[in-house]
């Protein structure tokens, strides 16, 4: 085998990231778009294939690992974040990605999700949120809208849903973003941003399930609605939306309101300017909950990015520090370390 460490890196293409396995999602599933955008953006993140690991749990989304030509591990329900944490702590040199769904991450795997965010383990979590259990054929999930009629809620679900952005922010994720399966270019940008981030990167992707929850995001993402219902966030830019970007979000104290820029009473200077690095958690939560008011659009883009040391760096640093202080451990000394006595 040739030693290729010093070889000139060959420019990879989307095809290099395809495992060649037959993709078995339902025709028209939003997962195809996510797979395509990941494969298209990965050549640009400049990480060698062998350094990339995809971990998934159980669910439609979790079949993702089989389709990527990287190291992959399709594990058990809900545990992808915990397994990914083990991979990253053991091997900080690897780029570790989690493909997961709303049931896998936020129901059975909720505990691992919040603790991964809290610890700021340097892994990237892509949440394929279709607001339904797909692989078990259509039961309501922890992100399903209240009142949703499904096989296990024939008279409508009485559950309140999670707001995934808010949950991730609350748990301390250092990178929180949102995109949609229908927004190919936007998703690629967000995936690249997540790849660059050091720390837990959480990306919610609105993903349509054509079989069990078809069109659930149409009120936001359809061609007819997106101009008025999708707020595309750009760092340092005023929050504008609507046809011709003539609507803006103004922060009236803690209350976000829509202002019409066609009205001469309103000025562009009144519009809230997005700051991904805003030290105020409160403003990030206001953004995450923007669409709680049906008059307001849903946020897309990077909601918040914070730079803080990662868990895995902390582990490495502590080992280096203690090793420097005590010297590299000697087994002989460890075994004979404590109070000993001789028998002759």
């Amino acid at each position: 085998m040739a030693n290729n460490i010093d070889a000139v890196p060959v420019k990879l293409t989307a095809k290099d990231f395809s495992s060649g396995q037959d993709v078995r999602w339902c025709p028209g599933c939003g997962d195809y778009s996510i797979l395509a955008q990941v494969q298209r953006s990965f050549p640009e993140i400049n990480i060698p294939i062998e350094k990339i690991v995809w971990i998934s749990g159980i669910g439609c989304s979790s079949r993702f690992t089989y389709y990527m030509n990287t190291y992959g591990f399709h594990t058990i329900h809900g545990r992808a974040a915990a397994i990914a944490t083990g991979v990253k702590i053991a091997r900080p040199d690897l780029s570790v990605w989690v493909a997961t769904g709303d049931g896998d991450l936020m129901s059975i795997g909720g505990n691992h999700f919040i603790h991964t965010c809290r610890k700021n383990v340097d892994i990237k979590i892509l949440l394929f949120n279709n607001e339904i259990y797909g692989l078990t054929k259509g039961q309501y999930s922890p992100t399903s809208a209240k009142g949703l009629v499904t096989k296990t809620s024939p008279y409508g679900s009485v559950d309140y849903p999670f707001n995934p952005l808010s949950l991730a922010l609350g748990a301390g994720a250092s990178f929180v973003a949102r995109t949609a399966d229908s927004e190919a270019k936007h998703m690629q940008e967000i995936i690249k941003r997540a790849a660059e981030h050091k720390g837990t990167a959480f990306v919610e992707i609105l993903q349509n399930c054509v079989i069990f929850n078809d069109g659930v995001f149409d009120p936001i993402t359809s061609k007819e609605n997106k101009a008025d219902k999708m707020l595309i966030l750009k760092h340092g830019q005023p929050m504008l939306f609507g046809k011709d970007n003539k609507k803006g979000i103004k922060l009236d104290g803690f209350k976000p309101v829509v202002i019409d820029l066609n009205d001469p009473k309103n000025s562009i200077n009144d519009v809230w300017v997005h700051d991904e690095k805003d030290i105020s958690h409160a403003r990030a939560f206001i953004l995450a909950h923007l669409a709680d008011d049906p008059e307001l659009p849903s946020p897309f883009g990077v909601i918040r990015q914070e730079f803080k040391p990662t868990y895995d760096e902390g582990v490495e640093r502590q080992i280096a520090h203690i090793t420097e202080k005590k010297g590299k451990g000697s087994l002989e000394k460890l075994l004979f370390n404590s109070n000993t006595w001789e028998v002759n």
């Binding site: 990339i52 991979v87 053991a90 691992h112 090793t323 202080k325 460890l334 109070n339």
Partner: protein, 618 residues
């Protein structure tokens, strides 16, 4: 200490002391200090810490009593002692709870200060047993006002009354050091390192310790003191070690001997937490410990580390194993090396968290969905945990499989002298990672039926594994009926082959005869002592002890079939007995006592004598 020789010193062969008091009285510390000093004196010893699950149960109550028993001897011993010769009772509840276990003519040292109306009532005494001629008749009772003597000695220490009272266990320790002729220096050294930044606490404890020692010397109440000569153990360097520390050291040793970095994913659980605590301190050995958010993350993070090329371990107790069960199955399906340590405790459910039991054997061998065989190993004594932790690691990486190592609360917390092996006497654990692209297939097989271990980061070997059924060789997802049948049998065969890679089951005593006592795990010492006693009286009994339970050594059936009767004592309702019957169609006699405590050797001795009846096995 010139005058200390005035009292006659009597030479004893062995002594068992039980320290008992409130769970806040520091009895565990007192007992372990006495044990460590005794070990340094060269005695063989065994210990039994026995404490309640509550950290500070209400003072003076029976259920708040914490005990520590130490058995030390001038010869080779195997248990913490059946019946104490000496009881140190710091309050009425400690006396009441432990009196029945004491030898008929045993010594009782009581802290008379705590025998007030309130404490007597809490312990359920109608009248003070110290004033009652019948209550303690037959025992040698030494009443000592330990609290008063300690506070008098510390009245100028500047400490609060509360802090002064907390020093009374060191008075008791000092007194016992005098009575059993032990030096103060090891404990003084320990105090100096423990309280080097708290000089007032250091001085107070030193003073209490010395005051207790000199009290023994000057008081008129003790007519004698005792000594126990060093034991004639095998030549070498020794240390006193608990099973949990030995497990931690065994894992670090396996890491060094295999060249694999050690990763521990774990969640605190009694009585296994010590292993996590020990390993968390070994940072300069490159050990990575991850205190996970729950038991499941403990094992799944370890599985992630195993996939990435670490020596991966998770440590827990029975309830934790229940939670980790699905993930162990993932380890079986993906054929990744993983060591799962179960320090067994009393069950079911939360059960008896601080007490010992052997009732997780069937869980270990069979307790997973699907056909999910894994090797199951069991350590026999505290120091044996060191070797079995290395064995579990060796088998895991050689056969690419999760391995369950069973220890228990008794050997995990109990201690014994350990003849320390030198680094160069410990064999290497060979590991081979896949690196060649040519011919690589994730589920190809070596001569042991193990699949290759291809770490992420290796160019050209990117592959996918998972919990779905695999096609052999390629590792592709495969639902074909005949493939599933093939893979189920292949995984079973891989584990069965380990039989050829472990030592034969050894028999102590004759290789055939009337009765074989077969044990497993932490009951080794009690069985050994019982068998030694009856054979010294001329009975014909042999002993064998299983440390590899799944698969069992390949000569196991032969060994068992050479005896007319096989007795299996277990701290459960007969779990090994079930396995032996089903594997070998050999019937066995059971002896089951599930009290949350280790066996007394006398219980097993009585069983043996009863089984052999009038014939005495001759």
């Amino acid at each position: 200490m010139a005058q200390e020789t005035e009292k006659e010193t009597l030479d004893l062969k062995e002594v068992t002391i039980r320290f008992a008091g409130d769970s806040g009285d520091g009895m565990q510390l007192t007992g372990s200090q006495f044990s460590d000093t005794t070990a340094l004196m060269g005695n063989d010893l065994g210990t039994l810490p026995d404490y309640p699950a509550e950290i500070r149960a209400p003072a003076g109550t029976l259920y708040g009593v914490s005990g520590f028993q130490v058995h030390f001897s001038s010869s080779d011993i195997h248990t913490p002692g059946d019946t104490p010769d000496v009881l140190v009772a710091m309050n009425p509840a400690a006396l009441k709870k432990n009196l029945a276990d004491l030898k008929r003519d045993g010594i009782i040292i009581v802290n008379t200060d705590s025998f007030d109306a309130k404490n007597l009532k809490l312990a359920g005494y109608d009248k003070n047993p110290l004033d009652d001629d019948t209550a303690l008749a037959g025992y040698k009772v030494y009443p000592v006002p330990i609290t008063t003597l300690t506070s008098t000695a510390l009245k100028d220490s500047g400490l609060s009354i509360r802090d002064i009272n907390r020093c009374k266990n060191f008075f008791a320790l000092g007194l016992m050091y005098w009575l059993y002729n032990r030096p103060l220096e090891p404990t003084l050294k320990w105090l100096n390192s423990k309280f080097k930044n708290k000089p007032e606490i250091l001085n107070a404890n030193e003073t209490a310790l010395k005051t207790g020692y000199f009290f023994g010397d000057t008081t008129e109440i003790f007519e004698n003191r005792y000594t126990v000569e060093p034991a004639k153990l095998k030549k070498g360097t020794y240390r006193n070690i608990s099973g949990n520390e030995a497990t931690a050291l065994g894992l670090v040793t396996a890491s060094i001997k295999s060249g694999l970095p050690l990763f521990l994913g774990s969640y605190p659980i009694t009585p296994a937490t010590d292993i996590l605590q020990f390993l968390a301190g070994y940072k300069n050995f490159g050990v990575k410990t991850f205190q996970a958010e729950d038991e499941i993350a403990g094992i799944t993070s370890a599985i992630g580390a195993a996939f990435s090329g670490s020596l991966a371990v998770t440590t827990t107790s029975g309830p934790g194993v229940a939670l980790k069960t699905e993930a162990i199955g993932l380890g079986v399906m993906t054929e990744l090396p993983l060591v799962v340590v179960n320090v067994q405790r009393g069950g079911p459910s939360t059960g008896l968290p601080t007490k010992t039991e052997q009732a997780d054997l069937l869980q270990a061998v069979y307790g997973r969905n699907g056909e999910a065989p894994i090797p199951v190993l069991a350590a026999a004594t505290p120091s044996d945990c060191f070797y079995m932790a290395m064995e579990a690691s060796r088998i895991a990486v050689k056969y690419m499989t999760p391995v369950m190592l069973l220890t228990d609360g008794y050997i995990g917390n109990g201690t014994e002298p350990w003849r320390i092996p030198h680094e160069n006497e410990i064999p290497e654990i060979p590991v081979k990672f896949a690196t060649e692209i040519e011919g690589f297939a994730p589920y190809s097989r070596d001569e042991n039926l193990a699949r290759p271990w291809a770490r992420p980061g290796t160019p050209g070997l990117a592959h996918r594994i998972g919990g779905l059924e695999k096609a052999n060789i390629t590792g592709n997802v495969n639902y074909d009926p005949s493939n599933h049948d093939f893979m189920v049998k292949l995984r079973e065969q891989k584990i069965q082959n380990i039989k050829n890679d472990i030592p034969d089951l050894a028999v102590q005593g004759d290789a055939e005869g009337e009765l074989l006592v077969l044990g497993w795990g932490g009951t080794y010492g009690a069985i050994k002592e019982a068998v030694d006693k009856v054979t010294s009286r001329g009975l014909k009994v042999s002993q064998a002890h299983l440390k590899y339970i799944h698969p069992m050594p390949k000569n196991t059936k032969d060994v068992l079939s050479k005896f007319k009767k096989v007795l299996i004592p277990e701290i459960n309702l007969g779990q090994l007995a079930k396995i032996v019957r089903s594997e070998f169609l050999i019937d066995v006699l059971q002896y089951n006592l599930v009290r949350g405590l280790p066996f007394r050797s006398s219980d097993i001795e009585n069983q043996i004598v009863e089984i052999l009846g009038g014939k005495n096995g001759k």
